[in-house]
Symmetry: C2
Subunit: 505 residues, 2 copies
């Protein structure tokens, strides 16, 4: 056992980095499963992932880590960075020692199966196929929460804290209530506007290879390099980093709508730019890791929405799109801009507009808190989903594929994860407002976008957000980067301003 802080820190860093070699391999297995693996390969893949996950957990709960953490928590010579690293190593260690390996293994197997069945059940509208597998996933998540709960901690908060350190349902409720209340008048004004577009324009026939070419060009312009990255196709778009210089994003293509894929790519590229901006020297340790899924999502939504749906960005994108895709001859930047800012309550979250998006998330937040505290059973989910959609968005799903089965997240075991989507949107608006203020205001920013100059914004984000890794908790990071307490008002102001311009409200 080391007796000084420096050697204990070094030991923990080395140990974390070795664990990261295995964990990043697990990420590659998951990437391959979703992009490359042939159907008959899924059973064995589940076994491979369970075995590797078991190994990672075994390393994470190594008692030698606990001993070093005890020593470091009693030390008085740690820098603020080192103390932050110790704090997050402790969180990870406690999570690892409190969940038995058999439960982790059962969870990996159950979620691998549920994800695979979801891929078949969704197109077949076969909720009955998915229900028993999702029940098993929820049962295992409850078991997990019971293992991890501090005294008086609610099961849902246990799961939420894993994704968004420090958050609770009780803290989110007023934030989300304020947001929902603020969105209502904006949505009503748009729906009543005479300028409102009621259907998706720019429908056409866009060959997949041309879409891919456009998507790649946009990624590169933002700062995503194919020297250290890939762009592939999967049923549900995602991003991952199976190595510090190995950034992979995915999309899906619809031949009649190139915007779905393109804005999905903007979103995933935003995630990747965050990962690229983490300090490589700390890769595999807390100071080289993302702080929360909410902050992760803030980066994706910032590039997708704040940047991607601005008039300036459309001025840059329109000529590039015309050059790459046949059939866009009459496209003007303004037409493109209106097309990507259509607002209409719709069934699918991933296709939702900026205004209604958070309402989808609030629905899931309410359903999963109810699932976790026993107010709702899995078998009653489809009905509760449809009722919630009606209440929040005023529409009902036509089928389970467009309702309760639209997302892979619950089958994949990601419960307590959805609120990070709305939180990330709130963070994104607050970051973007601060960046605009620092970079000369809205008009200057718009001119930069129109010229394809994305690097000043990226540098601001790298400086204020990315490079800190897990140094600050999410709300502290937001406060420090923006000089303001976290508030949904930046998002509400942004939406009011944008849809004033687009829809004349």
């Amino acid at each position: 056992m080391p007796v000084d802080s420096a050697s204990a820190l070094q030991w923990l860093s080395d140990h974390s980095r070795e664990t990261a070699r295995f964990y990043s391999t697990l990420e590659l297995l998951a990437w391959d499963q979703r992009t490359m693996l042939a159907p008959a390969g899924h059973d064995w893949r589940g076994e491979q992932m369970a075995a590797l996950m078991g190994l990672v957990q075994c390393r994470q709960q190594d008692p030698a880590r606990g001993e070093r953490l005890d020593l470091l928590e009693a030390a008085d010579d740690l820098s603020a960075e080192e103390a932050a690293a110790v704090f997050h190593w402790r969180r990870e260690y406690d999570r690892a020692v409190k969940v038995p390996p058999e439960l982790t293994r059962a969870k990996v197997i159950a979620t691998t199966k549920a994800e695979m069945v979801w891929q078949q059940a969704r197109p077949a509208n076969a909720w009955q196929m998915l229900e028993p597998l999702l029940e098993e996933v929820v049962r295992l998540k409850k078991e997990e929460a019971a293992c991890l709960a501090a005294p008086d901690q609610l099961p849902y908060d246990v799961l939420l804290d894993e994704f968004e350190p420090g958050e609770t349902a009780a803290r989110l409720d007023p934030l989300f209530d304020e947001l929902a209340a603020g969105l209502r008048p904006i949505l009503d004004a748009i729906l009543g506007s005479s300028r409102r577009l009621c259907e998706r324009p720019l429908a056409g026939a866009y060959p997949v290879p041309a879409q891919q070419q456009l998507n790649r060009a946009v990624c590169e312009a933002l700062g995503f390099s194919f020297e250290s990255g890939r762009l592939d196709v999967s049923a549900h778009p995602f991003s991952c980093a199976p190595g510090p210089r190995d950034h992979r994003i995915t999309t899906r293509h619809c031949e009649s709508n190139f915007l779905e894929s393109l804005y999905g790519v903007l979103h995933e590229a935003g995630h990747s730019l965050y990962m690229i901006g983490l300090p490589e020297a700390h890769w595999g340790t807390p100071l080289g890791s993302y702080i929360s899924l909410g902050v992760h999502e803030s980066q994706s939504r910032l590039w997708e929405n704040m940047v991607g749906r601005s008039l300036g960005f459309c001025r840059w994108l329109a000529p590039l799109a015309k050059e790459t895709l046949p059939g866009l001859n009459g496209l003007t930047p303004e037409k493109l801009w209106r097309s990507v800012n259509v607002v209409a309550p719709s069934l699918i979250r991933t296709e939702a507009d900026e205004v209604t998006y958070c309402l989808h998330v609030i629905l899931r937040f309410r359903l999963e808190t109810a699932l976790m505290d026993g107010r709702l059973e899995v078998r009653d989910l489809p009905e509760a989903w449809d009722a919630g959609m009606e209440e929040l968005l005023g529409i009902r799903p036509d089928c389970p594929a467009n309702g309760v089965m639209q997302d892979m997240h619950w089958p994949a075991g990601a419960i307590g994860y959805f609120p990070t989507y709305a939180l990330g949107t709130i963070y994104a608006a607050q970051f973007y407002a601060a960046a605009m203020a620092d970079l000369g205001g809205e008009r200057a920013m718009d001119a930069r976008m129109a010229a394809g100059e994305f690097s000043p914004l990226l540098s601001w984000l790298q400086e204020r957000v990315h490079r800190h890794g897990m140094r600050y908790m999410p709300r502290d990071l937001v406060r420090q980067a923006t000089d303001q307490e976290l508030s949904p008002r930046f998002l509400l102001e942004h939406l009011t301003r944008r849809h004033h311009d687009v829809h004349g409200i």
Copy 2:
């Protein structure tokens, strides 16, 4: 510790299967490295592979395995199958305990780097870039052989035995001498024939997507299913199985020559059909593994050459190729057949014809035996290569890319591996002769090929070869499957017969 054989065997099987979960993950990392990984990702990939290899080796040298093997070797109640499994577990265990983990780690890092540099050095003709890395690989292989050698065992034989259990350079020398001596008159006769084609016919422009479509159709006809497999592109074609139902083959495309890719795919599909035919219940244990690289190669060369270059197969293939590839209007089966049976001494082994192929391999066998016993230094390899080519094939490489740098094998650390290519060719001819005799003779076999009926041959191979896993040593497997001792005469007879038909010799 168990006291009875049954529980010791069960323990070893379970342990092997868990190791296979990690080892097959390593295979996926390697597949991804060669087909998907972005250039900047290679350093971390090397670290991931080294970490996982270290884990696998640690499991392989688990003393608990040694204890069970001691017990089983003293037992008198083992079936012949069980005894074969114990024999191969012992070989693997001894190899694992005798090589220190640091050496394994150094080897993985060195070969990963050398492979990566090879990928750049070959197109740049930059032998100087590769030389120091190859020197390091050879140095580490000598170190490895020294760790593993039995008393009086030559370093080369130590390496060879890993790939071809039971073989030695001393046993191979007469076999290869007989083969080389027999090939000479066949080659001379062809080179003197008036019917001889001197250049590759069927040159044209074949778009890659159409080639891919043809390749996939051929794979499926042979019995390779895309429900449990993939076909991708890599610089050097290979096959692998990162799971019992996850068979992956690769090819490279030349737009002016679809035959290069197609016959490469036939070759790799042959490898995969062997893996598919191994008993799945024993996957991850000796009875579910391939016995040797020579037997593996026999399956690839059987489908590529015995089947693929027969007139019957060309009768089936020609209309399919015409349907898929533009610009093949005038193609007849006979023309195709002559095209795939051109014989000419050439520089690149993987493009060599059936007659000269083994001469390429014999060159490498001679060079690597000399490297390993110190008669040759890495820096002298290019010159020795060129001299050997002149002696055996009568031609000299125009540049290192077409000479000593054409193969990835040595940079990848595969020394002692090349002879299995010639051995496999010898086995293939002997298997095919026996299969023809059992299935009605040459004419009946040719008619089946022309009708696209490949399953009787595949079933014969599954029954006589595939399903046995490691039950029999290679020469025993050949004897049992064909009722004959191993001999190059079946190959020489096959070549004489075929080139009598093609070239009128």
